[in-house]
Structures are given as C-alpha cells and as structure tokens.
Symmetry: C2
Subunit: 243 residues, 2 copies
C-alpha cells in the first residue's frame, strides 16, 4: 500500500489517497484518536471519482464517531482496465431495462458473479494492508452498496463483524444461498421506490439472511434518496456491534 | 379528568393515574421540564394492568428526552364493561387462528371497526384534557399498537404531528383506504416473524400510507420481541418531527 495524496479536511479528518498494486483507494481517519480506530469499509458501485462526494460524506459521518473509513475502486471501474465481458453484461442489462423486460438471471449472473469473485479478494487484501497501519485496529464493518459483495465478504471474511447493506442492485440466485450463511449483525437499507431495484427481491433477500440480528430500514424515494438520518442510524448500528 | 393516584418513579418521572369519565388512564411527565413538554400518546392492545410494564418502560424512555406520555384503557378492555359483539368477534378470530384457517375480512371488520369507531373519539377527548394541563403542550405524537386506531387518529386528529406505528394487528380493508389519506411522518415497526400478523399485509399497508415521510423498521422475532434499540430510534424519530 502506497499513499499518493494527503489532505486535512475542515473537520480535521485526514484523507489519504492510496494505491494497492493497481487498485486506487481512499482512507479517512478521525482528526483525533487515542485508541486504534475501528474501521468501516465503504462499498460502492464503482467509479471512485463519481462516487467521491457521497463516500466522503459517509466517511466524515463515521469519523465524527471515531471510525476510520476506507474504500477501493472496483474491478473494471473508474481508471482501472475494462473487462469486455463485464461491458457486454452491462449492455445486455441496459437493453433489458430500457425495453421494460424482466432481467434474465443469466444476465445478472454474468454481470455480478465475476465482479464478486474478483472484488472480494481485493477487499480482503486491502483489509490486510489497512489493519497493518498504525492507528487502525479492529473490529471492522462493511457499509454500502453492491450488496452481493457485502454478502460474500460477510461469509468469507471473519474480521468483518457487522454490515450495513444497501439493497439497491441485482443479486444472483447463488448469492441468496450464501446469504443464508451470514451470521453477523446486519442492517439493510431499502429504497422503496428504487427504479433499478426489485422491491420483492430485496425483501426476499432480507428474509434469506441467516443472522438473527438483522434490521431492515425502508424509506421512500429512489436509489439516491436515502434520508440523511440513515447516516446517523448507521453509526448507531455500528456502535452497537463494533465497540 | 380526575387524578386518582400519584407516584414519583426512581428516575424522577411523575406517574399519575387518572379517569376521564369512566375511562382509566395514566400520565407520565418528565422529572424536570422548563418548557411545556411535547406529548406522546401510547397506544396498546387493551388491558392497562397487563400492559403496564411495557407502557411504563416506553414512557420512561420518552420522559428521558423531555416528552410527556399518556395512555388510556381501550373500550371493552381491562376494567371497562365488556361488549358481547366484541367478545364474539374475538372468539371467532381465535377459532380461525387455532384451526389454521385464513381470517375472514368479515371477522376483522367486526373485531376492529367498532373498536376504532369508539376508541378514536375517546383518544381525542383525552387529548383535549391532557393538553389543558399545565406543563403539557403540543406537538403531539402517537406511538404504539392497534395500528388501525393509529391510522384513523392520524387522519382525523390534526393535533397529531407524527406517529410511530406497530404493525402487529389485523387491519380492515377500509382502513387501507384511510391509510392513503395519512400525510404526517410515520415510522412503522414490523416484527418479521410475528405469529399473529400477516407480513405481506403489513408491507402492503406500509406501501399504502399516503405520506412521503415514512420509514419501515423490520426486526426479527415475534410480536413482543421488538429490540430495545427501537425505543431510542423512536425517540429520534419524534425528535425530528415534534421539536
């Protein structure tokens, strides 16, 4: 892990860009911390530049409660090399959505499964690097979108103690099976009128999660309309499980 | 309104029993308050004695944040005179549930509609009396069960500014129509595995509410298993809308 930039934000939070091999990422650490800060991994749908305002806002809400937060670019997104197969799957998805057709499981599998298979080991490598930094200690939470990545991480990465998942993307059937194996506490955010998300599928997925400590927060509005108070609710969720 | 008992609880909350005509009730007020306290009406399924521990616990959580809280006995419950029609409807419901049969809309109508018709004017009369007391001022919230009563109150009582509703009881079809007229902010609690509650009906009802400011909190477990943190979440919901 190599730091590539560093700036102090107006609330004292230290923001550092880094690369991990070819993967760019950002780390935010609280302005003042006496003990090692618990870490929250911020998931997102890819495209660090585009996502930066929302990620930085979430990181600052976390930092205000003493958490470090970090994110990495997803495979085939932002400045990283593209994948022809992923582009093709995305085009097929767009065609189905624009035609108002139901999206084939086969398209979802082609779109999401290779992404999960590649992204999850990268998140784990980032976790190795982040936890070796001074001032950052466990426990670790995962917060954000690409719920399929969150599911797989929750199953395979024992250092993740709690996850705040955003039900706003397609989930392959096989990930429903993995969801049954999740035993860490979960809070799931659902935007009730999310244009790109199947509400019933999200409810079925919430039902499928194996953990007994799961809470669903559904709010009105579309994909990007999550109310501001859910940021603080997320902090309280992590406070119950990471401290 | 006539006070019939008074005790100071260990956290300084003043608990007073009262009667309003033939209706018994309880009022809790914060130990110290500089300004008139906003008021939260605590709904429940009937039977003040049996419900007392849960109601008092909720009232104390509210009082800690500066809210007064009050409840009244429901018609045909607790020490109030019984209704033969209500008893019959309840027996029919029990028979259907024990036989594992779907519950007829007709039974739900007979059970719930007369209760709503009688209880809502009583709640409004209680509100008149409570708001005339020194130290209690608007705004007013409603929190609790018998969601059908909460719906009707939210529609007809303009002094109620926000409602925290517990989706844990049967709702007549006609109340779904009234739900579309609700425009105040709502937070709806759903116990995912509530044995006496139809999950899909609860989700349909959440969908039906006319307000754009509605949030659903679903948690695992049965009817009485609402996690403790939802008490504080409820306070924060009211803090956003009653202060």
């Amino acid at each position: 892990m190599r730091f590539t930039s560093e700036q102090r934000l107006d609330d004292g939070v230290l923001e550092r860009g880094f690369t991990l091999g070819e993967i760019p990422g950002i780390l935010w650490t609280p302005g003042s911390a006496s003990a090692p800060a618990p870490l929250i991994l911020l998931g997102h749908p890819g495209g660090l530049h585009k996502m930066y305002p929302r990620l930085a806002a979430r990181a600052r809400i976390s930092a205000a409660e003493g958490y470090a937060a970090a994110t990495i670019e997803l495979p085939w997104s932002g400045d990283r090399p593209r994948s022809a197969a992923a582009e093709e799957a995305r085009a097929d998805l767009r065609r189905a959505l624009e035609a108002g057709e139901p999206v084939d499981d086969e398209i979802v599998d082609r779109l999401v499964l290779p992404l999960v298979d590649k992204a999850v080991p990268e998140w784990r490598a980032a976790l190795d690097a982040l936890l070796s930094l001074p001032g950052i200690g466990g426990p670790v939470g995962y917060a954000g979108g690409v719920i399929a990545i969150g599911i797989r991480l929750a199953v395979v990465e024992p250092r993740i103690s709690a996850a705040l998942l955003f039900a706003g993307s397609f989930v392959p059937r096989t990930l429903f099976e993995e969801a049954r194996q999740v035993t860490i506490p979960l809070q799931v955010l659902l935007q009730w009128d999310d244009e790109g998300n199947d509400r019933q599928m999200a409810l079925d997925l919430f039902d499928a999660f194996g953990t007994e400590e799961k809470t669903l927060h559904a709010n009105m509005g579309g994909h990007t309309g999550v109310p501001q108070f859910e940021g603080e609710d997320g902090n309280r969720f992590f406070a119950r499980h990471l401290k």
